[in-house]
Symmetry: none
Subunit: 190 residues, 4 copies
DNA sequence: CGTTAATCGAGACGGTACGTCTCGTCTTCAT
DNA sequence: ATGAAGACGAGACGTACCGTCTCGATTAACG
């Protein structure tokens, strides 16, 4: 009821929040994740370190927030009559979101997730799981139309698609292009 | 050519080398990669820090040496008449090598490769590329027998297989079991 | 002269003032001056930090106000016919005021006066000078009666008495007892 | 026996030690004790912070070492046939050691001793007690010659002398000159 | 009786220094 | 020359307080 969520005290500064997210993303591009520091982020953002630590556990979570916001905005969930095309469209949009800058961030986040298990949990819940569920929905609609390769479960199909995505991102540097999207579509649906 | 390669002074201690590789591997399991330090490794191995730095650039390279030795020993390259079975066998053996302990090491190495580009280069050359070539050889033999799915290149087939492997290792924790090996075999060959 | 000092708006809360003085004094005893913080005082007093900073420059001035009030109340200025006894009485009363708790506060204030010159000025004006003047008056009355040791000026006599007081307080911890009062009286008057 | 105290490893850098002592003393004069920081000392000395913390608990102990070395060198213990003159000489030399720069350090040390009880203990043992013992020896020799005022114990005489010294240093700023030395001599000996 | 102004508790803000940790290097004595 | 030991310069960590700045809520004098 009235005033239940109203707390006393100064409000969180949206300006600082944006400045920190932007500074983290910019610095990642400039110096790389290894030399990205909370001190550097705060200095670039023109805030105190405590303002970073008050709202995020560390530099990885700042990047995570920046990236998830980007993903939410730029990757639509297609839903047309052509369910095969939907899958191709989804993968193409996903790959297109992996610009050089966001790729750097994604690689850093996946790395940090391996190193800090607690962050790993947040990373999976905040970024990986929503993406899996989105692709899973597209795959399920394909299955309902009888288009999915018969020996594949939804989860395994998703593993194959995101596996290829992340493996190229992390290990080989081969491009995430329309050719890969087309190939995955054919492999999963056939 | 006098004394070709023979230098004066104390020889490198094989004992220390083994102690350092073992200490790194043990400590990784005990405290995790984030709290694994060169100082800790040296202390556990009963050596000085300098002895680690003299032979390896850092903690990641110590682990890399430990893991590559393991991989070389435990994953044979099958070559029988049944080329479909060869692929399944290779994948099964590869997955079997990912024990909990080696999985921890692999995840740490892939993480470090993202964070330190120079190490990333060594990691790809030392561990990833030989594995890709091994699998590529098996896939090529399958293609020669007309078994490979027609829209797949060798590289892409390898991407799909190792993509699924690494994605489960890094992101979902789903098992690297015979079911996955079977499923990949069917997906790639059909 | 319209309204001279009368202003609109909420009045200063006497309740908060007392709570802050009390909290500062209590916390000094509990955690010591080093870990006495304005935040802690405000929290203990149940006020906001700003309410402290609105009325005092810092934690030292809060303690100073608490101590000066105490000194004003508890150390009378004796004025009898026996001017030697007056000196002894003044010193005894002064020493008696140095309870363990007020001693802690006095030591902290003298320390802060060394570290923060601006506070030092306030400390000398507010607490030290009035005390010097009170003792100086007693000494002067003794001099008029021809009781003061001939080579002593009033200021120097005061230096000797308060010097002994503060030195024991700050440096040795030896007691401020009647024996010291008696001895100082004899030394100064002879 | 042999080599019992010989340890392996790099020796402590005497150069760094001197640089740190000097930097602390210089910075105290330049910015005052409140704005003297361990970080600043290390930066000025051209060392890492850890090199300060490895050998001293904090900035106060660095100053303490600088000051005690100074006192040991500059205040001789006079021992002539004229025991009254010896006392006057000792006090004069003591006062002369209180240059503006060392006075700043002494006031800071006495302040810190009030604020940090553990440092207070070290301060008393390292600086105050040796000084008390030195003056006590001079006073004792005067007493043996029947020169000491009869109602004074050695300890109390020392309290009076050092009390006047510290009180002027900390509270009034009145000079530590030959006049005070003469006056104290007369007061104590009579 | 509403307007205006000052204070209140609360708490976020930009800063700064803390004391710790680890890095990779350098120096020492012993092998 | 290499080994273990350990001090060194460097610099980021995450925390604690500083003193300032909003907030919405009270509380008084004034119009």
């Amino acid at each position: 009821m009235s005033g239940s969520g109203v707390r006393p005290g100064r409000r969180r500064s949206e300006e600082s929040r944006q400045a920190i997210l932007g500074a983290a993303f910019d610095l990642l591009g400039e110096v790389g994740y290894a030399r990205l520091t909370v001190e550097g982020i705060a200095a670039r953002a023109g805030t105190g370190k405590q303002t970073v630590y008050r709202w995020w556990p560390g530099k990885a979570d700042v990047l995570l927030e920046a990236v998830t916001a980007y993903a939410r905005e730029h990757i639509p969930l297609p839903e047309t009559a052509d369910r095969a095309a939907d899958l191709r469209t989804f993968l193409t949009a996903t790959f297109a979101a992996a610009t050089p800058r966001t790729s750097d961030a994604l690689r850093a986040l996946m790395a940090e997730a391996q190193i800090d298990p607690a962050f790993g949990e947040r990373f999976r819940e905040t970024l990986l799981r929503p993406r899996r569920e989105a692709l899973g929905a597209v795959v399920d609609r394909a299955r309902e139309a009888g288009l999915l390769a018969p020996h594949l479960t939804t989860d395994t199909a998703v593993d194959l698609a995101f596996g290829a995505l992340w493996y190229r991102l992390l290990a080989t540097g081969r491009p995430l292009d329309d050719e890969l999207a087309e190939l995955l579509t054919r492999t999963l649906l056939r």
